[in-house]
């Protein structure tokens, strides 16, 4: 077009980013890449093509990692671990700083390569992905520097196997590699097969930065390579970002292996617009929510919930905005919508949308490229929660919409999902915003903004969106373990009956469910004998229905999570007061069950009292944080209760065991279903009389007795349980981890080693962290 013509039409015209440097880098590697193992590239093996989804052009050939490749990489990482983990924090910080600097120096090359390999608009890779990746390394250079002084008593895990997705290839690498290295681990990273190139460029950077050989290893390949890495016995921790389906499989595959695991999975995040919002800004926010990276974002605000009285106007204005989006070659600097990552993903999006018959489907009336892997921005209005597309993740540029009438209904609709990754809400009313944000089932909440990320702020989900946080101190802790590994547990010792020497009136301990004593559903009990065989009483044998009843009672007590820390402290003190009044009786019971000395039994009661005091103290002191994020606003890290926790008590301390579990759980606002130890269950059942007299609301603490081996599965698989802890002597860690895969609940299992319940180190933050979820609430402000 001539200048006078453009002067009339005022079109944008092409504004292509130069890709020659990226092509030159690929050519330098002769278009074929091996793995990066032990500080060097291996020769390329059996390979597959990685394509530019916008053009279909083959960019390079990537090696399909074999079991032998994975073995070599894990070996290299294991070999590098001792030296790397023993470096001072400062020395590791220097390495991370060097990586950050080099990422910055090569930022445009990374951005162009990312866009070519993934299809995302160059604006996003240039202005968002790559700067956030740099920021992650800078931030974690700082965490490496501070780790030793700020987190004493911790040590790195070992070799971390990390499997990342294709939607933010370099950024997800940064989220995985930076905290692992900062903590002192070494890594083997498997990038997604569609998008391996920036990880391989990162390997180049690691060499350039002089990172010790073997600290970072990159093995390319498809899901089979990832599975080999996850299954490798030399891996101490698995970190995965990807689909909920694969996350569940990884949970099952690693169950009982002792490997640490964090999962960041799918989402169907709500985007709530109240009628007093700045509507135009809320609509612009949707562009950043669902049309960011073609909607291929795990935390995409993909489920629009608009207040009914503004819905019609909102949808009309939204459609007008959609008509202004520009789709095209993602290397064009003027493009909002690039290519979907692969034809497979495109087919999946198309199928889900075309199979839907509910509501009204609107495709943005914009010019779409005639070739390449492009899907138009789409809005489906008038859906109901029962419609499939309101529940299932599409992972494409497709927004679904429904309406609500009241804030309460908005929250109910928002939480009516298997997922719990992120949520967005728009309102100009600070009361409404701060009231609604904590009630949303999500790990991240954005107020009057969306898709804000920073290395200082934790990111991660609840429910089937996974567990663990990335970013901030909480993210670093996912790459550390206590320096004290505890001692191997001993099997539960159930004493055999001696001569019948029962005296007094028959006492049968019952279950404690919903604040009431309950008989076992199955109608079976067993005798409990003292160490000399004396019959001490009977306890019920719980079955799966008793688990069901206890969980139901615990769920009904949800109001406990909304009480104040002060009130919860008062009740814990009151428990201690009433337990203290019966200290002698509890000591005698311990002694009778275990045969320990009077002094030892008395000591256990005393420590239990102290422990109750400790968690009463913590109840109003386990503070959240206001994170230093680079915006004008606050990112609040709020410690919220996990919900309903199922816990198997240890055998080593009949009273102190259950107290050590229930006190932190209750202090943080959780409800708990305790399964007493098997050898001396009467101390736990005696406890319910104390709870009964201490104003503990019904359902907050529930106590069952029975076989840990039999109850592990029903508790771990229960969909309405939010976390399961096990300090059991029974071999149930694997059963619990495998059982948790169905709903991807958090688990905390002992793998056959328990801490010293009588010691001081068992008390405090490890339990408090297990009893809380960090929810990050972003509140930008300004008038």
């Amino acid at each position: 077009m001539t200048i006078p013509e453009i002067f009339e039409t005022m079109e944008y015209g092409p504004a292509m980013e130069d890709a020659s440097e990226a092509h030159a880098w690929i050519a330098k590697h002769e278009g074929r890449f091996g793995h990066f193992i032990g500080g060097a590239f291996t020769a390329a093996g059996e390979s597959f093509a990685t394509r530019n989804p916008a053009t279909g052009e083959d960019l390079a050939h990537i090696t399909q990692g074999t079991q032998a490749d994975v073995n070599a990489a894990v070996d290299a990482a294991a070999k590098a671990f001792p030296r790397w983990s023993k470096l001072s924090g400062h020395q590791r910080a220097r390495h991370l700083y060097a990586l950050a600097r080099l990422l910055q120096k090569h930022s445009r090359l990374f951005a162009v390569l990312e866009t070519m390999d993934n299809g995302k608009p160059i604006r996003e890779s240039r202005d968002i992905d790559i700067p956030l990746a740099q920021r992650h390394f800078y931030y974690h250079a700082g965490l490496a520097q501070l780790r030793d002084s700020e987190l004493p008593g911790h040590q790195p895990l070992g070799v971390c196997g990390q499997v990342i997705p294709w939607n933010f290839p370099l950024l997800m690498l940064a989220w995985k590699v930076a905290p692992a290295l900062a903590a002192g681990n070494t890594v083997v990273l498997k990038p997604a097969e569609y998008t391996s190139l920036t990880a391989l460029l990162f390997a180049d950077i690691c060499r350039e930065a002089g990172l010790p050989k073997g600290v970072v290893n990159i093995v390319t390949g498809d899901g089979a390579t990832g599975a080999a890495l996850v299954d490798h016995p030399g891996v101490a921790k698995v970190a995965f970002t990807g689909s909920t389906e694969v996350g569940g499989k990884i949970r099952e595959a690693t169950a009982g292996s002792g490997k640490a695991l964090t999962l960041e999975l799918g989402g169907k995040s709500p985007y709530i617009v109240f009628d007093d919002a700045d509507i135009d800004s809320a609509i612009e926010g949707l562009v950043d929510a669902i049309w960011f990276n073609q909607g291929q974002v795990c935390c995409a605000g993909s489920r629009l919930l608009v207040q009914e009285n503004i819905a019609e106007d909102f949808h009309a204005r939204l459609k007008a905005r959609m008509a202004n989006l520009r789709a095209g070659d993602p290397l064009d600097k003027c493009i909002d919508i690039g290519a979907v990552v692969d034809p497979v993903q495109h087919a999946q999006i198309s199928r889900m949308v075309s199979e839907n018959t509910a509501g009204e489907t609107y495709h943005a009336p914009i010019d779409m490229p005639s070739t390449g892997c492009f899907y138009p921005p789409t809005l489906i209005t008038g859906l109901e929660p029962a419609d499939r597309l309101m529940q299932e993740e599409i992972f494409g540029p497709v927004l679904v919409s429904s309406t609500f009438r009241t804030p309460g209904e908005a929250v109910a609709l928002a939480n009516n999902t298997r997922y719990g990754l992120a949520a967005t809400l728009w309102t100009e009313n600070v009361n409404l915003a701060l009231d609604v944000a904590p009630t949303l089932a999500a790990g991240v909440v954005w107020v009057n903004a969306t898709n804000l990320f920073d290395a200082a702020a934790g990111f991660g989900g609840v429910r089937e969106s996974g567990f663990g946080r990335e970013g901030g101190w909480e993210g670093l802790l996912a790459y550390l373990k206590p320096a004290d590994a505890g001692k191997p547990v001993k099997p539960a010792k159930v004493h055999a009956p001696g001569e019948a020497d029962f005296e007094g009136i028959d006492r049968t301990a019952k279950f404690y469910v919903g604040g009431k004593q309950a008989r076992p559903d199955g109608g079976y009990s067993r005798p409990v004998h003292g160490h000399r065989g004396a019959l001490l009483g009977h306890v019920g044998i719980a079955n799966r229905k008793d688990i069901r009843n206890a969980v139901e009672a615990a769920q009904k007590a949800a109001g406990w999570g909304k009480t104040t820390g002060h009130l919860r402290a008062q009740i814990l003190y009151y428990i201690a007061e009433n337990l203290g009044a019966r200290a002698g009786e509890f000591a005698d019971r311990i002694r009778a069950q275990t045969g320990r000395s009077a002094a030892s039994a008395r000591e256990e009661v005393e420590i239990a009292l102290s422990r109750l005091f400790s968690y009463a103290a913590w109840a109003d002191k386990f503070d959240g944080a206001a994170k230093s994020v680079p915006i004008r606003g606050v990112a609040l890290a709020m410690n919220e209760p996990v919900g309903v926790i199922g816990a198997f008590c240890p055998e080593e301390a009949p009273l102190l065991g259950p107290v050590s579990l229930l006190a932190p759980a209750v202090a943080m606002g959780n409800r708990i279903v305790l399964v007493a130890g098997e050898s001396a269950p009467l101390s736990a059942t005696d406890l319910y009389q104390v709870l009964d007299t201490s104003d503990v609301p019904g359902g907050v603490v529930n106590i069952l007795t029975g076989s840990h081996s039999e109850l592990a599965k029903p508790l771990a698989t229960h969909m309405d349980v939010d976390a399961v802890w096990s300090f059991s002597s029974a071999d149930i860690s694997g059963v619990i981890e495998a059982g948790s895969a169905g709903s991807l609940k958090r688990t905390w299992v002992n793998n056959g080693r328990n801490p010293d319940w009588f010691g001081a180190t068992v008390e405090g933050k490890a339990f408090l962290r297990a009893a809380t979820e960090v929810k990050t609430i972003w509140v930008p402000y300004g008038e």
Binding site: F7, M10, A15, C334, A449, G782
Partner: protein
């Protein structure tokens, strides 16, 4: 992609037209005014990311810069303005870019959108621009503070119109906004509009003195309801003048007003826009938020004095391939 019809532009490319149907105004709708919201941080994010989302290169950039020139209200508002100074400005408005460059661009008839002066300078500007088709705009109503006696402010408009000004840039009483006296603002704007007669009226909100973006949104709506043909950010004399966030708020108000009434109101950012690149961002903001129809001088103006100089140098760079120098271009 463009579906807008340019019903008012009928003459040769480059000639600015002030022929858009005027805004008849409407009754003051307080529910609408008070319902207006402006979330500052979200608005700032939109503005911060826009330059990264849209860009124009090569011949597109040259054409867009020429378009920016066609939308400039070339302005002098100094205490030492003289007829000679104004005459020089008018000559520049008629020949904004060196003739050989305009020839190379294929836009030989390019002029600025208008010339903007104080009342006393109107006759000289009208005389200098005679036959060019370039309108003269007069700042009025006790510009810049708007605190002279009310009847005199109304009278000042009438005098400027009588002197030949086809556009009147009025200043609103900021105190009406700051005290929430929307009715008073509405009445004032109506009076000013009436005093303008056939001349088009631009309402200067002095956004730098309104305190909040929400106030900017509300003042924009009230002035449009009272019949403003244009809304304009600033006098150029406030400590903060045109900014992208303020512009976004005002043009979203324009969009809302058009959606409800069907009437298009123009927009004029003024003060502080001095770089060619800034003018491109403003044009893309207009295109994105309001559409192509608002990229014409009858609905969009820059209030600027030094912007033209920077654009001239960029255009010479486009034509010659070498970076330019200011002394190679005629001064205003």
């Amino acid at each position: 992609m463009t579906q807008t019809t340019l019903e008012t532009t009928t003459v040769a490319a480059g000639l600015p037209q002030v022929s858009h149907p005027r805004n008849p105004g409407m009754a003051l709708d307080m529910d609408w005014v008070m319902g207006a919201q402006a979330n500052t941080s979200a608005i700032e994010r939109r503005c911060a990311t826009l330059p990264g989302r849209r860009t124009v290169k090569k011949e597109y950039q040259a054409a867009w810069l020429a378009r920016a020139i066609s939308c400039i209200d070339l302005t002098t508002l100094a205490g030492d303005d003289t007829p000679g100074r104004v005459k020089r400005l008018c000559a520049k408005a008629m020949q904004p870019v060196r003739a050989d460059l305009l020839e190379a661009l294929g836009l030989p008839d390019l002029t600025t959108g208008a010339v903007c002066v104080y009342h006393e300078m109107v006759p000289y500007a009208v005389e200098a621009l005679a036959g060019s088709g370039i309108p003269v705009a007069a700042v009025s109503t006790g510009f810049p503070a708007g605190l002279s006696p009310y009847p005199l402010r109304v009278k000042e408009i009438e005098e400027s119109v009588k002197a030949g000004a086809e556009e009147i840039d009025i200043v609103i009483s900021r105190r009406h906004v700051l005290t929430g006296n929307w009715q008073a603002l509405y009445e004032e704007m109506k009076d000013f509009r009436a005093a303008c007669g056939e001349a088009h009226v631009k309402a200067i909100l002095a956004t730098g003195e309104l305190g909040t973006l929400r106030n900017v949104a509300r003042a924009s709506l009230v002035c449009m309801m009272a019949g403003a043909d244009f809304i304009k950010t600033s006098t150029g004399k406030e400590s903060v003048n045109a900014t992208l966030p303020v512009s976004l708020v005002m043009i979203r108000a324009i969009r809302a007003y058009q959606q409800v009434t069907g009437t298009r109101v123009g927009y004029k950012p003024a003060g502080g826009i001095s770089k060619a690149k800034d003018s491109l961002v403003y044009l893309s903001l207009m295109k994105e938020e309001l559409g192509d129809r608002w990229l014409r001088p009858d609905l969009f103006r820059f209030g600027a004095s030094s912007l033209l100089g920077d654009i001239e140098r960029q255009l010479e760079h486009h034509v010659s391939g070498a970076y330019s120098a200011s002394w190679r271009h005629a001064m205003a």
